[in-house]
């Protein structure tokens, strides 16, 4: 009961946080001169002169009002789904639609790697944390420290070299494609599927979920689905290794810390078998600090996603944002920032709720 009120209160607290976020993105945006802001609205091939186009765009965006009023216009546009226009070599069109196209791919990467790393890290951390300073523990620590310290892009490149297909020189272990969300060669050229949309900009989009793996499965095209799955492997493995290393460190540290607590002695003095002491008494307490850092690890995961998507040419929100940055598309940058901010806020909310669920001492 109490937990429900806590969740509702936390959801209400989201409103000021998100408003703060919009203030931030608005101020950042206003740091740019007007002619840069409206760039996405200019069509150089149009018969209307560029200067007139610029004036119209400024008017539409409310840029001729004082900044506080502009902020109101900005908020209105955000709520109405009008997040601005952008045109890059990667994607051209409304920002929100771009996010709709590419965000699912990022979510897919993140969810796969989060689930994988949690289901590996918790049992593994429990195992090595219950046996501190043994050979297994040392190996686990070396593993987690190495991957925690390794730059994501470097790990991605190494994996590409070891496990990636090499079309020019050939790679005996190369079974996984290293670029894109699927391989165009898997499409039957005689009957190209209608649910694939070519955006003319080198990216192929699918409907209805914009996730090629899921869409191919929905339409029963297993060649495309398996190609999409294989393309997922390397980016997911890279992200998983980094995240896994982080979680493993904290689970292990939490286990070692909890094992030295007095209540573990109590449990043993009751005659609880060692297996249950570890499972019921030590691990339950060890997971509390782990959940706290999961929120932080999630932030670093988002940073990792941008690099990973770039290295693997994976059409996600990271690649979308990166292109916007490189090609001076302010609305694209701000849209990405807003989405990343929203994800972080939501992730922290989930962490707080889980925290309240597993630690009865939390007052809410």
């Amino acid at each position: 009961m109490e937990l429900r009120y806590y969740i509702i209160r936390r959801l209400l607290l989201l409103i000021p946080t998100i408003l703060g976020l919009t203030v931030l993105t608005f101020l950042l945006m206003r740091a740019f001169p007007n002619y840069q802001l409206v760039q996405g609205y200019i069509n150089p091939h149009s018969s209307i002169p560029v200067s007139v186009q610029m004036l119209n765009a400024e008017k539409a965006l409310g840029l001729n009002y004082p900044p506080p009023v502009q902020y109101i216009y900005y908020l209105k546009d955000l709520f109405l789904g009008n997040w601005g226009q952008m045109s890059t070599t990667f994607y051209s069109g409304p920002v929100l639609r771009g996010i709709e196209y590419f965000f699912p791919n990022t979510v897919q990467l993140a969810i796969f790697s989060i689930i994988l790393s949690i289901i590996i890290a918790i049992p593994l951390g429990t195992y090595i944390g219950a046996r501190p300073n043994t050979a297994a523990d040392q190996a686990g620590r070396v593993f987690s420290l190495a991957f925690y310290a390794m730059p994501t892009f470097w790990l991605a490149l190494i994996l590409q070299i070891i496990l990636g297909q090499d079309v020019i020189y050939g790679n005996p272990f190369g079974i996984f494609p290293i670029q894109g969300s699927f391989q165009p060669t898997s499409i039957n050229p005689l009957h190209p599927p209608s649910w694939l949309i070519n955006t003319q900009l080198g990216t192929v989009l699918s409907s209805p979920t914009h996730l090629i793996l899921i869409d191919a499965l929905i339409h029963g095209d297993f060649a495309v689905a398996s190609s999409a799955f294989m393309s997922l492997v390397l980016p997911v493995v890279t992200l998983t290794l980094t995240l896994l290393a982080g979680i493993l460190r904290f689970v292990r540290a939490g286990m070692v810390d909890a094992a030295s607590q007095e209540y573990v002695k109590t449990a043993r003095s009751k005659g609880v078998p060692e297996r249950l002491v570890i499972k019921r008494h030590i691990r339950k307490n060890a997971l509390i600090p782990t959940v706290t850092v999961l929120g932080l690890l999630f932030a670093s995961l988002l940073g990792g996603v941008v690099t990973i998507e770039y290295v693997f040419g994976y059409p996600g929100i990271g690649l979308f944002g990166l292109n916007a940055v490189l090609q001076n598309q302010i609305f694209g940058v701000m849209g990405t920032t807003l989405i990343f901010g929203l994800i972080l806020v939501m992730a922290n909310l989930i962490v707080d709720v889980v925290y309240a669920l597993i630690d009865p001492r939390i007052r809410y």
């Binding site: 009751k270 339950k284 597993i358 001492r361």
Partner: protein, 522 residues
Amino acid sequence: MLVNEIDKTKITRDDYLVVQNLKTQFFTSKGIVKAIDSVSFSVKEGEVYGIVGESGCGKSVTATSIMDLVPDPPGRIIGGSIYIDGFDIISDTDKLVKITVKSETDVKIKRNKRLIKRHNYIISRIRGKKIAMIFQEPSLALNPVMTIGDQIIENILLHNMVSISESIIRRETIKDQDLDNFLSEASAIKNHSDLKRYVQRWARDFGMPDIEDSILNVLSSNAAKPFVRKELVELIIPQRKGVNINIFKETKDYHDDLNKLLDLNLKLLNSENKADTAGIARYEQEVKNLERQMRTKYLTFNLKRIILKKTYQRVFQEEARRRAIELLKLVNIAGPERVIDSYPHELSGGMQQRSMIAMALASDPRLLIADEPTTALDVTTQAQILDLIRELNKFTGSSVIFITHDLAVIAEMCNRVAVMYAGNIVEEASVDDIFTNSKHPYTTGLLKSIPRTDINVARNLRMESIPGNVPNLITPPTGCRFNPRCQHKMDVCEKSKPKLVDVGDGHKVACFLYSDLTDGDN
């Protein structure tokens, strides 16, 4: 008589716990801490045995050694015997690990994993069941993420499956004869508190502890006998759940056999200890036979247990929960139905310690080790907890080892007292002898350092204290470990270690002032 050399044959029936020449050391990077150096004592059934001394003198290590809870690494019991109920639980200590000491800081410890596994199995079935322990700081000793109830129920379900199954079977198959027996026996009891105890036991044996108060009310109402009987039947009928009792019969058999297996393992261990080849062969065979029998006998039972896991567990959980509430009542917790679902942090220190005690009592242990149970509590709570422990000692008849640095608490609680100093027992006597006729200079010093308003203020004296500190146990003083702080130090004290000798009436002291100067260990 030299106490250190008690013969095993002299362990009397009423000695529930006998500790002989116990040695516990900690192998640290700075050197070997000789925390317990040949400690011997015994605790009789129903006795409250006190262990007193300054901090760092080995009281708690003694307690954790008895429970085999010494944190390993760095600590290990390296020798001695601990007899519980006649069985030496650490007889195999030198087989579990091979310790080669090259120097103080260079110690190789080789563990025999197979034997350690068996040892842990045996010890975990003795812990909690035969000996239970309560700790100094209840707020740390209770698991913060489990409710009080879950922690007590865990203990009940670990050790009491046989008695729970029995009481469910009895409840479901209760006969007129049982009721008649109960009524006639109850009417023979005149004393109210005896009657209450009898009803409590009966209600628990018949798996209906929640209606114990109502039964008592019915019995105390001076109604005619047939009327009482009718009311009782009305109370009991709704208690019967009409469950299938076969599963409880099987559970009882299964856990009976598990206990049998434990007994056989203990006997096997004892034979190994005595190098009795005939015994080893016999018990090894019996263990094997029983294990084989159990595998076939409980095949369907185990399958059923896995498939019906939820339903199976629920019945036992419910029963254990009723018992947990009973236990909370026993330790005078107000509102046990509410407390059982609270988390430790929601309770006060006194309530936490009461819950700890309830948890320790969950499986009717015959020895309770209380390691400074009141040190972390305020004075009024302390008095209540002490009263509670004393009452329970009388009520359940179990022995208590009471560890404290507070001599006033010792005077209040104990029958016999051991004074420990730097890992040795320096004096052991009845509580009266310790306070009126202390022999060892350390005991005398401890007694003088109790703050007293009557003497010190009246004579304008300052409180006395023992000069110096407890020695570093990596390099303990040679000879008597107390010699650097002793006012009566003689030459022999540095050279040789005094043995604990009886100076009359079971009053034992380890000091050359009271023994032959040649009678020591070099």
